[in-house]
Assembly symmetry: C2
Homo-oligomer: 335 residues x 2
């Protein structure tokens, strides 16, 4: 298996990316296509022990930077590292691509070069985001706002495939996020989506409210990307805020190293996406994993692990099968 790594994407590129690529190659036993300016990539590689790994350098003379308009940047920079890396997947020279570059650019490259699965217009992002509820996935987390009911249904299918293939949960329970548990409580979007979820053949357990997000009651919690994005960001900051408060409260009462450890564990548990490394962009016709911009070598290596798992588990094929099955159940035309 070969993973294409965007060597120039991320706040700490290329140093940390190359370091992570070497670590990932060794840890997960995959070949790497390291994409970026050839000279620079080779210089970075020279600083590491690459024995026992297969790392090929693929030249790309340009790269995206944070703040550029994604569409515009892609048209201007046809030899950008993310473009070259994603094309390797398209022409089957690599099985997956990973990048810590600007999310908009990575998404745009995936959309333009790989395309989306039929019937889905935008990538779906999500995953477990709380260490306290490691088997709970929320989708979407910001890629899709102003969603139609059929999009929320798609998130439920994506989430089910995610939970089954990436988390090993046999029959993932799916719930619709709302302001009350009873059917009928919620907004128009929720009321219109409910009957679709009832009939689609997934393990739909009804509505859950904000109280249930951290409780692990459902494996897959479905919401509009507007709501999901706000909830996840709020939870991350609340964890950090509580961490700072706690540090003040227990400093001097416990050994310093213990205080640091407790606070770090708390922040990690409320920022679980950081801990996991990047995840796949769902609904894309190929495996493309995005890691956050501030990723260091460790996260890059973990993202390579996620990409390997996604390829092994044939996420794209599984998702196509599930989408078709749900649409048949609902009497929707095959796409």
């Amino acid at each position: 298996m070969k993973i294409a790594v965007d060597g120039m994407g991320g706040d700490f590129a290329p140093e940390e990316i190359v370091k992570g690529a070497v670590a990932g190659a060794r840890e997960y036993g995959v070949e790497i296509a390291l994409v970026g300016p050839e000279e620079r990539m080779r210089q970075e590689l020279a600083g590491h022990d690459c024995s026992g790994t297969v790392i090929e350098v693929v030249n790309a003379s340009q790269w995206l930077v944070e703040g550029e308009h994604p569409g515009f940047a892609l048209r201007q920079k046809r030899d950008a590292s993310i473009v070259v890396a994603t094309k390797l997947v398209k022409v089957r020279k690599a099985d997956a691509v990973i990048s810590a570059g600007p999310t908009g650019g990575v998404v745009a490259a995936a959309l333009v070069i790989l395309g989306t699965l039929e019937g889905m217009s935008r990538p779906v992002v999500g995953g477990p985001f709380l260490g306290f509820a490691p088997n709970t996935i929320m989708m979407d987390l910001g890629s899709n706002v102003d969603c139609q009911p059929h999009q929320l249904l798609d998130f439920a299918i994506v989430g089910t495939v995610y939970a089954r293939r990436m988390l090993g949960i046999k029959d993932p329970s799916v719930a619709l996020l709302s302001i009350g548990a009873e059917e009928g409580k919620g907004n128009e979007q929720v009321r219109e989506t409910y009957p679709l979820l009832q009939k689609c053949g997934l393990n739909f357990i009804g509505q859950v409210e904000g109280y249930d997000i951290a409780s692990g009651r459902a494996n897959v919690i479905i919401c509009d990307g507007f709501v999901g994005n706000i909830v996840v960001k709020f939870g991350e900051t609340l964890g950090k805020t509580i961490g700072r408060w706690l540090e003040d409260r227990i400093a001097g009462r416990l050994p310093e190293s213990e205080v640091r450890e407790i606070v770090a564990d708390l922040v990690l548990a409320t920022n679980a996406a950081d801990a996991r490394g990047g995840g796949p962009l769902w609904a894309v016709d190929g495996v493309a994993c995005v890691s956050h911009g501030r990723s260091r070598a460790e996260e890059i290596a973990r993202t390579i692990g996620q990409a390997r798992l996604a390829v092994e588990q044939d996420l794209v094929g599984a998702l196509k099968t599930e989408l078709a099955a749900a649409r048949r159940k609902l009497g929707m035309p095959d796409m």
Copy 2:
């Protein structure tokens, strides 16, 4: 000043309600009209030292119970304690009403008996909800879902009056909750509301994202009640979840009483609405304060304090003035 207290509303009615009414009367120097079955109210009062307080019993032979359909219950139970108590405000025999009864019933009674301010169709609920950001109010928290832009504008006005009159903040900053700080990032509702907020004469500072809810960046955060309800409930449970985790982590390392105190403070800081007691139902043409169903005497007393503040600060009058001013700025017809 006289506050009508629904003596039969709440999980611990009438015992805790009556106890709280006596405490509130003494603490805040207000007269109380205690509404409920006369005999039962007098029996409860007999168990307390009422010296130095003015507490009048007003008979009501019925009361609402949790789980009833609010509208139906109000039609069936015309002598319900919440109805009788709210009517005291309508006929100016009391300055405010407070209840820990079923929220739907309290809201319905306020709507039917007191009515809403012109141009507003439903009560607005909200207030500070995080101890870490005591000067940040979020509105709406669940009463209004599927909001139009003009409703979000109304929340901004309500929030500004709340922050000014109840929290003593001179020029409260107002922000629109979205998925990014830049104008244009967000859903259709946000994009349509943005220009209204820019022109309405409030201290509008733009959009904030989930990261900013706990940071205190804005005094008034505006959102659809669907989003607000989910965020607040998530924060409350996350606080409790972290509390339990922390207890396990530090138990045995610190004296038991300190562990208990730290965890209790954490839960309180993430469940600040509990700490504050009930708050006013905004947009209602009169002062009606709802406390949660599990309120004990202490919360009932605090809610009486909130009601007194609301009356003293002439919330209803201030809100009418602010609404008219904002509508004039926007060139909307006077209501």
